[in-house]
Symmetry: C2
Subunit: 112 residues, 2 copies
């Protein structure tokens, strides 16, 4: 499994608008092969921002890479860059990709 | 839901030992109320380290906080600090806690 995260440092007075933009968008992830689950996460509040992270679980890194080349990816990123241009974040989102090397669930005690 | 992450900057020549330590440990998370799932993640390789992140999903932040006060937490952290003392990481792990504000699955298109 592969987890793709994007970390956003959101200006405090833009946090509500940032959440609304995410919660109200159309998502096409479920159309893509290997898509397992998406979470939007609100993290710690720092002095000048609140950390948010998007968090998408894919069956494999190859599935994630196929998504970045897809029509759905292009259209979602076109939509994200339209609308009002007031900056909501400090800098650009920071991408981090992770391979899952161990999974422990409540039922199965330790398995990959 | 609540996701607790610890980010570890692991020295490159210690990465195998770091993975082995995690993969071979006993975990008691499944004994705790509200524990949903644990993942150990290997992230991007940077100039002087490889980023790893532990990633524990809890039903609520309160369940996570109860774990940090539990006997299981104390005993796992006692074990982690014994053994060979050669440092495997740059600095201490960095903790970040996240509230899940949106979930999208492949079946249910958008739900909390």
């Amino acid at each position: 499994m592969f987890i793709a995260m994007n970390r956003f440092k959101v200006l405090k007075d833009a946090a509500d608008a940032f959440e609304q933009r995410w919660l109200s968008r159309e998502s096409y992830l479920h159309e893509l092969e290997g898509f397992l689950e998406f979470h939007m996460l609100r993290g710690p509040e720092r002095e000048d921002h609140i950390l948010y992270s998007s968090h998408t679980l894919w069956a494999s890194k190859a599935n994630f890479e196929a998504w970045t080349r897809s029509e759905q990816f292009r259209s979602s990123h076109t939509r994200a860059s339209t609308g009002d241009n007031k900056p909501m974040t400090l800098g650009h989102p920071e991408f981090e990709g992770f391979e899952v090397i161990q999974t422990i669930g409540p039922a199965l005690k330790a398995a990959e």
